[in-house]
């Protein structure tokens, strides 16, 4: 496909450098200029609000031999979102988008719950059930990848198909029922603790590290960026663009599948209709909040993790503040707007100019 390339490099750099003279890079300014600074600052600010307004927010105690407190809750609940966001990051880096994430969450959770069954002993050995669930997720990814990379369908329609049909499949497996699981080892995945910390954190940490290493230690990161920025040039340089894009969708679905296991293990049941509902939107939001552009190219895995944490902290803050549910959405949108604005160099310049003007007027 000979689609036109987006020339976004120029305006971005031009914008970033407009009016900025040569500056001596001190450590402080380098820190402030770091692309992760702004998302991190937003997260810290949110936590600060919690510190001031929610008594006991940072209170941690040991209960039943593990840490217990709001922060742990946030990390625990954010885990599936972080996973989904990690997968989504790579898809977005190749200029794609995957809106079937929520459906894959439902499918993998359902498959696992179905195989383990509703008895206190597992029908199928748990390892096998988990593998089958991940296998289903990988199949979903392969399907998406085939449509997007093989057939060249536009990513949003390619994944729309699974988004619509996937949940239906999951419901078909369960006959529309919520499957409750009573097999305790399965719960460990979603609400178990290891060395006092939620087990899900270890999973997320492992996936993050593995992905980051894969990007660093192999050429995958470079290739994904190249494909995202200029697919034509990438192909001419000898990259297997189709294979890369295929891989990225498989990876994203694998992450979603893992997230699905976590979600269903956490609520000890598989809810095909509601598990991971709208998770794709939150994942995309997390990726963008973390500073990765939806136009593809440069990406930041750490940024996406921070983005996911911002979203979950925000949700949790709304609950903790005791706001009436009618205002949830308004608060959420206002915070997203503010975080976005804080990330905009243009906004900062404008604000600075305005302040200079008012001060100049006063003087």
């Amino acid at each position: 496909m000979n689609s036109p390339l987006k020339e976004n490099a120029m305006p971005r750099t031009a914008a970033a450098t407009r009016g900025a003279g040569p500056t001596s890079p001190s450590t402080a300014s380098m820190f402030v200029r770091h692309p992760l600074f702004r998302p991190l600052a937003a997260l810290v600010l949110l936590l600060l609000v919690d510190l001031l307004l929610v008594p006991g927010f940072f209170h941690l105690e040991i209960k039943d031999g593990h840490l217990y407190g709001s922060l742990i809750d946030i990390a625990n609940r954010a885990a599936p979102l972080v996973l989904a966001a990690l997968g989504m990051t790579l898809v977005i880096a190749t200029r794609g988008i995957d809106i079937s994430v929520g459906a894959v969450v439902a499918i993998s959770g359902t498959v696992a719950a179905m195989l383990i069954g509703g008895a206190s002993a597992a029908n199928t050995p748990m390892a096998l059930a988990l593998c089958a669930a991940m296998g289903a997720a990988l199949l979903c990814g392969a399907w998406n990848g085939l449509l997007a990379a093989g057939l060249g369908l536009q990513p949003i329609v390619a994944t729309l198909i699974l988004m619509v049909a996937g949940r239906g499949l999951a419901q078909l497996f369960t006959d529309g029922q919520i499957l409750t699981v009573y097999y305790t080892p399965f719960f460990f995945l979603g609400s178990g603790y290891l060395f006092g910390l939620p087990f899900s954190l270890y999973i997320v940490g492992a996936v993050f590290l593995a992905t980051a290493l894969l990007m660093r230690k192999t050429a995958l990161g470079l290739f994904i960026q190249a494909v995202g920025i200029n697919p034509v040039a990438a192909r001419l340089a000898g990259l297997k663009t189709a294979v890369l894009i295929f891989f990225v969708y498989v990876f994203c679905s694998a992450c979603a599948g893992l997230a699905g296991l976590m979600v269903s293990a956490n609520i000890k049941s598989a809810d095909a209709n509601n598990a991971g509902l709208l998770l794709e939107l939150d994942a995309i939001l997390a990726v963008t909040l973390g500073g990765t552009s939806l136009a593809g190219g440069k990406f930041s895995l750490a940024g996406s993790v921070i983005g996911a944490l911002i979203i979950q902290t925000l949700t949790y803050t709304i609950y903790s503040l005791g706001l009436p549910p009618e205002v949830n959405m308004v608060v959420k949108s206002v915070v997203v707007f503010l975080v976005c604005l804080s990330q905009s160099a243009e906004f900062k310049n404008m604000w600075r100019a305005l302040r200079a003007k008012t001060q100049g007027g006063a003087a």
Partner: protein
């Protein structure tokens, strides 16, 4: 390169095939009124898709449309029922608010260099949230004009269509004219082709982008007005997920999501394809809820793949 022209053409051909298949399988499917019902029932979606196609042609995306629609129904109902304002004034206010909401998002996108996806996603939350601030209940509209608009049947060829469907078609016609015959329309294509180049060629990129989102907001509000004619109520839960339907319709209609290529008129065929799939399933009447989802997904799949393969083949021949 598979040209969007072929893709659009292929969509129309496949739509005809889909309808013919329905006619063969289900008695009564190919009656005129069923076809008109497609228009009546999807009028609001068509209007939203028209606005969305402008946004997508310019290389952007607008996720807020469904919520803006809901907000419009809510504000209209509230102004009519609680404030007893005259209906025409209410409609004017609603349209102005929609356009203003879109313009504000467009301005944020352009002037602060924010990503359309994230800005309009926040806009989506905001509009939906504002609905609940007005009321979490649904508000019934009993204004005579609205009721008349809702129940009037304009006879056409032995069947009838609703005023809403007519308005939607007029909107489409106007939008096609704007897209293809006005400098603003062409600037949209230019921005979608290459924003950087458009800027270097001296086009008013900023103004264009703000106007595009304002237009999309306007269309969403207009769809909201049509929706309140259709449902005679304002409700915060109206039209959930409509943004995805609209995007799907636009893309199925042959417009490239990366911007610059496609036709506004394609949104009509896209909307009709989605509507036909739903009608087919309703006529079948034997599918359980999950099979409905699976079959919709399956039909979408078959449609998109055939469309893609045919477009590829056609592109190769030229």
């Amino acid at each position: 390169m598979a040209s969007p022209y072929f893709t659009s053409l292929v969509t129309v051909v496949l739509l005809a095939v889909l309808l013919a298949a329905g006619g063969v399988a289900y008695p009564g499917f190919l009656s005129l009124q069923v076809l008109f019902n497609l228009l009546i029932d999807n009028a609001f979606l068509l209007v939203i898709a028209v606005g969305m196609s402008f946004v997508i042609l310019s290389g952007g995306i607008d996720l807020s449309v469904g919520s803006v629609l809901a907000l419009t129904t809510m504000i209209s109902a509230w102004l009519l029922q609680s404030w007893h304002l005259p209906p025409l004034l209410v409609i004017a206010i609603a349209l102005a608010l929609g356009a203003g909401f879109g313009a504000a998002m467009g301005a944020m996108i352009h002037y602060f260099k924010l990503q359309p996806f994230i800005v309009t996603l926040a806009g989506m939350f905001l509009a939906r949230g504002l609905c609940y601030l007005i009321s979490i209940n649904s508000i019934t509209i009993d204004d005579p004009l609205y009721v008349a608009m809702s129940q009037t049947q304009l006879p056409v060829l032995g069947g009838f269509i609703s005023p809403g469907a007519l308005i939607a078609l007029l909107t489409l016609a106007a939008a096609v004219y704007v897209a293809h015959c006005t400098p603003f329309g062409r600037a949209i294509y230019a921005v979608g082709g290459s924003e950087q180049s458009a800027l270097m060629m001296g086009l008013r990129v900023g103004r264009t982008k703000v106007l595009i989102y304002a237009f999309s907001g306007f269309c969403a509000a207009l769809a909201g007005v049509l929706f309140s004619f259709y449902m005679l109520s304002g409700y915060g839960l109206h039209a959930q997920g409509t943004e995805l339907d609209a995007i799907a319709a636009v893309v199925i209609g042959g417009t490239l999501l990366s911007g610059g290529y496609g036709y506004v008129a394609g949104s009509l065929s896209g909307v009709l394809v989605l509507g036909t799939i739903q009608t087919l399933i309703a006529f079948d009447g034997t599918l359980s809820s999950w099979w409905t989802r699976i079959v919709i997904g399956g039909l979408l799949f078959v449609f998109c793949v055939v469309q893609r393969l045919m477009a590829l083949g056609a592109g190769r021949k030229t």
